[in-house]
């Protein structure tokens, strides 16, 4: 439930109950005041009767006025407390019974006691109270309506900056260079939130950029010492008086330096893919590229007695030639390197799906781990970055890459985007 709805619910419940309670209290007070007023009137009437009796020493004629109905009843009682009570009032004009208020009091004249009862119509006050209640109810309804409308529209408008910020936070991508923009608002809290989000995202982005720059610089800085090692070895081997086993050790140093250099290149490539720095995209025919690569790897395929089955149709994608080469190179390279001798490789390109299947280790690879950086199989002597690079290239172009193990064949499948 949205905050606005929560707020709406609470405010409506509170307003309705406050309005109802206050309406009730209002009603009771008005009722009380009206009754008091009536009672005062009736008291005056009684006083008038008493005054009349005292002055004239006889009962007044029970004249029936429009409003009041006075009656006298002879009584033997000496004491009687004046009391007010509700009593029906017979309206002689309209021939109907209305609500009324009555007072009864003791009147003494010529040694005789009478109880005088005066009944007055309460119709008018009832009417007043009804009108007041109606007005109160209408007011309540209108207020409620206004409240709901205000909450829905004004509050939603008020919260708009918040949703704007939230949306930006949701879309925030640390590798993206687009910045979180300032949301215009007059609400201090949202201004604070916006500022905090901008500060945070800027810091995160700059930290991330810093880390990437660091990786790039570190990798580059390592290249010069590596160049020195390699060139020094190149000079060292010019001394032919060295013994064969010393040369063999130098070969090992060469290999280690070469491996370090390739590792560095791979890291740099990963940084470049992450930064989307290779934007020289062009239309590429996958079939042509695979046939070229098959030619390139021919020697190694023959050397390992690998049977190569290729089934291709013309498929075009738009990508960086360099990255696509890396992708196919790695697919091919892995299929050859991790193959048996003799073994087989099956390449299928159909629709938007490229499948590389190869024989090799009889156990499947760990599907969830192989695309991690520096994951290496037991027998692998690679950098451990090949599949991570492939995954990143695929992610960059929104391709899907999957690994499967079926009928003793390791299968890597790349699904390209359908051409629009």
């Amino acid at each position: 439930m949205k905050l606005a709805s929560h707020y709406n619910k609470v405010s409506v419940v509170i307003s309705v109950s406050v309005l109802l309670i206050s309406g009730l209290i209002y009603y009771l007070i008005i009722n009380h005041i009206a009754r008091q007023q009536l009672d005062n009137d009736l008291s005056e009437e009684v006083e008038e009767v008493v005054n009349y009796v005292n002055l004239n020493h006889r009962l007044p004629q029970p004249v029936e006025f429009d409003e009041d109905q006075t009656s006298f009843i002879k009584t033997t009682r000496d004491q009687y407390n004046t009391r007010f009570f509700d009593s029906p009032y017979k309206n002689p004009k309209e021939q109907k019974t209305e609500a009324g208020r009555a007072v009864s009091a003791l009147v003494k004249t010529n040694g005789e006691n009478y109880i005088v009862t005066i009944v007055e119509s309460r119709e008018e006050t009832e009417y007043l109270i009804q009108i007041i209640s109606a007005i109160t109810l209408i007011l309540t309804a209108v207020l409620l309506g206004i409240l709901i409308v205000t909450n829905r529209f004004v509050l939603n408008g008020l919260w708009r900056p918040f949703y704007g910020i939230l949306d930006q936070v949701k879309r925030f991508n640390v590798a993206d260079t687009s910045k979180v923009v300032v949301i215009e608002t007059n609400v201090d809290e949202f201004k604070d939130l916006s500022d905090a989000v901008i500060k945070m995202s800027t810091r995160v982005t700059s930290d991330y950029q810093g880390l990437k720059t660091f990786t790039e610089n570190a990798s580059h800085e390592m290249m010069t010492p590596l160049a020195i090692i390699t060139s020094k070895l190149d000079m060292l081997i010019q001394d032919e008086t060295l013994k064969p086993d010393q040369f063999a050790q130098i070969t090992d140093i060469y290999s280690a330096a070469g491996r370090l250099s390739r590792l560095n290149q791979s890291l740099l490539l990963l940084v470049k893919i992450d930064n989307n720095l290779l934007q020289d995209t062009e239309k590429l025919n996958i079939k042509t590229i695979i046939l070229e690569k098959a030619q390139q790897f021919h020697e190694m395929i023959v050397n390992k007695n690998i049977q190569l089955d290729i089934e291709l149709i013309d498929v075009e994608v738009t990508a960086s030639r360099y990255l696509f080469d890396v992708l196919i190179n790695n697919l091919f390279g892995n299929a050859i390197r991790h193959n048996k001798n003799p073994g087989s490789i099956k390449i299928e390109l159909s629709g938007n799906r490229l499948k590389f299947q190869n024989t090799g280790d009889s156990n499947p690879l760990q599907q969830d781990a192989i695309f991690e950086r520096f994951y290496k199989g037991r027998t692998s002597d690679g950098t451990g970055l090949g599949l991570a690079i492939m995954k990143n290239i695929c992610a960059l172009y929104h391709y899907e890459i999957k690994y499967d193990f079926k009928q003793g064949m390791h299968c890597f499948c790349v699904v390209f985007l359908k051409p629009d």
Binding site: I229, S231, D245, I250, T251, Y254, S255, N329
Partner: protein, 223 residues
């Protein structure tokens, strides 16, 4: 051949200088942009080996200077960055080739000679080495005027060895030259052995001479 090596890393500069200095070649060195520009302004070189990252500025300034002053030196860029942007930028402002650190000296020399030859071709595209004569444009080889049929890899290797004649070349350097990035797939140096064996045999059949010396445990030398 007159060469200028612009490289701020002294060890590397000295090593390159030592490897390139031979009969008929003069090497000069510069450790920073200022020295390099001064030398280029005064002397003529056949080729400049240029490190892009210099302490007092960007190596591209040298390319810019060469272009504006109408000089025609070959430039081979050495850079720790293999960034494709740098490469395009460098080649666009007049560099002839680009090599990424780390590199083998043999590779550096082969590349350097290739660009110098390309620039000084003129009408003569023949490269002669003893009995061997290579037509660089037609990519054909004759030994004692007899044609020799070579595969693409053998042809590449022959050029590579001639460029580094008299030097011991490691199998690692040869593998990297022939296969480049795919090199890490090679689980052995068997391929090199096979290619060298074939090339050696073909050369021997036509010239009666063995041009290759095997240096056990490390590689080969072309003599």
């Amino acid at each position: 051949m007159k060469l200028l090596i612009v490289e701020d890393e002294q060890t590397l500069r000295d090593t390159i200088e030592k490897y390139f200095t031979e009969e008929g070649s003069i090497c000069e060195v510069a450790g920073d942009l200022k020295t390099a520009l001064k030398k280029i302004a005064v002397y003529e070189y056949d080729c400049i080996l240029l490190d892009i990252g210099l302490p007092d500025g960007d190596g591209f300034a040298i390319l810019e200077y060469l272009r504006t002053s109408g000089k025609n030196e070959c430039v081979l860029i050495i850079s720790a960055r293999n960034s494709l942007d740098d490469k395009i930028k460098g080649l666009n402002v007049g560099a002839d080739d680009y090599i990424t650190k780390p590199f083998h000296l043999a590779e550096l020399k082969a590349r350097l000679l290739a660009i110098v030859r390309r620039k000084t071709f003129g009408s003569n595209s023949l490269l002669n080495y003893n009995e061997i004569s290579i037509d660089l444009l037609g990519r054909t080889v004759t030994v004692n005027d007899k044609p020799m049929t070579l595969t693409k890899k053998e042809y590449d290797m022959l050029l590579y060895f001639i460029a580094n004649k008299g030097k011991v070349i490691s199998k690692n350097a040869i593998a990297e030259h022939l296969w480049g990035d795919e090199m890490d797939m090679l689980d052995s140096f068997d391929f090199i052995y096979t290619h060298i064996k074939n090339l050696r045999k073909k050369l021997m059949e036509l010239s009666g001479k063995d041009f290759f010396a095997t240096i056990y445990g490390i590689g080969y030398k072309f003599v």
